[in-house]
C-alpha cells in the first residue's frame, strides 16, 4: 500500500531536528533508516503528520572511543557497525547480534538508534543493550539527558523517550576482558528470532566471576535473566554449573504465544539457548 500523506523535513543539525519535532507536536515522528517505520506507514498502522528525517545529521553517525566505552551515534547504520574496527574489538556482542539482523538490504539502511527506539522485544539489539547496560543519550527541548537501559524499555514498542525527545547516541561499555556470545534461533532466513540470548561472561581462574544475560522475544520488552546471572556468579566454569544455571532462564519471563511458537516452547528454548550462549561466551568445555 501507499502511505497516507505527511509533511517532511530534513534538518541538518540536532538543534533544528529538536525544534522541528517540537513544532510538529505529538503527531510528528522521527525517520531514521525507515526499515521499521516505512512498513508501518505502508500498512497505515502509523499515520504521522510530519516526518523529521535524521538522515542529514552527520553528527549522529559514527563510532568514537571514549575511554571505557564506545559512543555510537544513533544514526549509525547496521552495516557501519559491522565494518567498524572499534565495535569489532570492544563490542563484539553488538557486532555478532547485528550480523543476524534481517538481510543485507535492511542492514544498509537500518540504524542502531532506530532499532532501539522501535523497542521491539523481538529485535536483536535491545536485548544486547540491556545485557551490557548501555546508556541512552537523548536530546529534546530540555537539552540532553541520560537514560539507563533498564529504564529505557518501558513496554511493547514503548520507550522512556518523552514528548519531543529523540535518541542521539549510545554509550556502550567496552567488553575488554569479557567473553560474549549471541545465540539466536529463527525458523527461516531473514526471519525474526523466536528467542535470542545475549551473554557476556567474565571469568576469574576456574570460576565465572560475573555474567550478564539478555533475552530477546521473551516478554513485552527485552529482559535480563537475573536468576541465571545470580546462579552463575561465583559458580565453577563447568558445563554442569552452566546447565543448572541456564535451566532458570525463563524465570520471571512472560514470553508471547504467536504464529511461530507457544510460550511453553519459548521458555524451553530460552534454557537451551542460554546454556549454549554461556558455554560459548565463557569458553567452557564439556567435562
Amino acid at each position: 500500500m501507499i502511505p497516507a500523506a505527511f509533511e517532511y523535513t530534513k534538518p541538518s543539525t540536532v538543534d533544528e531536528a529538536v525544534r522541528a519535532l517540537a513544532e510538529g507536536g505529538e503527531d510528528a515522528r522521527v525517520l531514521a533508516g525507515g526499515q521499521s517505520l516505512i512498513p508501518m506507514l505502508r500498512l497505515r498502522m502509523a499515520a504521522p503528520t510530519l516526518l523529521v528525517d535524521l538522515g542529514g545529521l552527520g553528527e549522529l553517525r559514527g563510532v568514537r572511543d571514549d575511554g571505557d566505552a564506545l559512543v555510537i551515534g544513533a544514526m549509525t547504520r547496521y552495516a557501519d557497525l559491522l565494518r567498524d574496527p572499534l565495535v569489532r574489538d570492544h563490542a563484539p556482542l553488538l557486532a555478532q547480534a547485528t550480523a543476524t539482523v534481517a538481510d543485507r538490504q535492511v542492514r544498509h539502511l537500518g540504524t542502531i538508534g532506530g532499532s532501539l527506539a522501535e523497542a521491539d522485544p523481538a529485535g536483536d539489539l535491545p536485548s544486547v543493550a540491556v545485557a551490557l547496560d548501555v546508556s541512552f543519550e537523548v536530546v529534546g527541548p530540555g537539552g540532553w539527558r541520560t537514560i539507563s537501559a533498564a529504564d529505557f524499555f518501558v513496554d511493547f514498542l514503548t520507550t522512556a523517550l518523552g514528548d519531543g525527545e529523540m535518541l542521539g547516541a549510545l554509550r556502550v561499555p567496552k567488553q575488554d576482558g569479557w567473553g560474549t556470545h549471541y545465540e539466536k534461533f529463527s525458523r527461516v532466513a531473514q526471519a525474526w528470532s523466536i528467542v535470542g540470548v545475549a551473554v557476556a561472561v567474565r571469568r576469574e581462574n576456574g570460576t565465572i566471576a560475573e555474567a550478564r544475560v539478555g533475552l530477546t522475544s521473551m516478554g513485552n520488552r527485552p529482559l535480563r535473566a537475573r536468576a541465571v546471572e545470580e546462579a552463575l556468579a561465583g559458580a565453577p566454569a563447568t558445563a554442569e554449573a552452566v546447565s543448572s544455571a541456564a535451566a532458570r532462564a525463563a524465570e520471571g519471563a512472560d514470553p508471547p504465544t504467536d504464529v511461530w511458537a507457544s510460550a511453553e516452547y519459548r521458555s524451553h528454548l530460552a534454557t537451551v539457548l542460554t546454556r549454549r550462549a554461556v558455554v560459548a561466551a565463557g569458553g567452557i568445555h564439556a567435562s
Binding site: M1, A5, L31, I38, P39, L51, R104
Partner: protein, 197 residues
C-alpha cells in the same frame, strides 16, 4: 511536494515528489524504469532491490525523498553501453538461474552488492548474502552456482587470472554443471511478515 535530484543509471532526474512516494514507485511510474519490480507488500521479497549510493536496498522500503542526492543503479543500468551483459547477468543466463524471472532483477543486484564486499564467497556466504531475496521457482541451486561463477569471472577480470586457475569458467563458455557438494540445502520459505500491533 519536495524537490529531489537523483541519478538513475547514469542519467540525472530532478522532480517534485510527494514525501510519501516510495522509491520503487518513483522509479517505475515517474521515470519509466520498469525493470525494477514489486513482488510483495511486506518488504520481504527483495524483488525491488536497487543499488543506492553503492549499497543494495529494497526500493519499496525507501522513500524517494531519502534517495535525494544519491546515485541509483537499477537492473537496466548494469549492462555495458554496447549491450554486453554484466558478468552477474551473464552468469545467470549461462547457469539458467531463473525460471519466471520475477525475482531476477533484485537477485542480480543483491549478488552485485555481495560480490563488491566479498569477491570470493563460499556457497554458505552466497546463500546468506542473498537471504533478503526470495525466489519461488528455482530452488536457489542455480542462483548460487551463477553467483559463484560470476565471482570468479569478476575476480578474473580484475587480476586477469587464467580461466583455468579459477573455480568455474568464464561466462559465455558452454559448461557442464559442476559436481555439486551434497550439502543439505536450506530453502528459505517466505517469511511471515512480522505482525504489527
Amino acid at each position: 511536494m519536495t524537490r529531489i535530484s537523483i541519478t538513475v543509471d547514469g542519467v540525472r532526474y530532478d522532480d517534485d515528489v510527494e514525501a510519501r512516494t516510495l522509491l520503487v514507485h518513483h522509479l517505475r511510474d515517474r521515470l519509466g524504469k520498469v525493470g525494477t519490480v514489486v513482488g510483495c507488500d511486506t518488504s520481504n521479497c527483495g524483488a525491488c532491490t536497487v543499488l543506492m549510493a553503492g549499497d543494495a536496498v529494497k526500493s519499496c522500503n525507501v522513500l524517494a525523498v531519502q534517495a535525494d542526492g544519491t546515485e541509483i543503479i537499477t537492473i537496466e543500468g548494469l549492462a555495458g553501453g554496447d549491450g554486453s551483459l554484466h558478468p552477474v547477468q551473464q552468469a545467470f543466463h549461462d547457469r539458467h538461474a531463473l525460471q519466471c524471472g520475477f525475482c531476477t532483477p533484485g537477485m542480480i543486484l543483491a549478488a552485485v552488492d555481495l560480490l563488491a564486499e566479498n569477491p570470493d564467497p563460499s556457497d554458505a556466504e552466497i546463500r546468506e548474502g542473498i537471504e533478503g531475496n526470495l525466489c519461488r521457482c528455482t530452488g536457489y541451486q542455480n542462483i548460487v552456482r551463477a553467483v559463484r561463477d560470476a565471482a570468479s569471472a569478476l575476480r578474473g577480470a580484475q587480476v586477469a587470472e587464467p580461466a583455468s586457475a579459477v573455480d568455474g569458467q568464464m561466462p559465455g563458455t558452454p559448461q557442464a554443471p559442476p559436481a555439486v557438494p551434497s550439502e543439505p540445502e536450506s530453502v528459505p520459505v517466505e517469511a511471515v511478515p512480522r505482525p504489527v500491533p
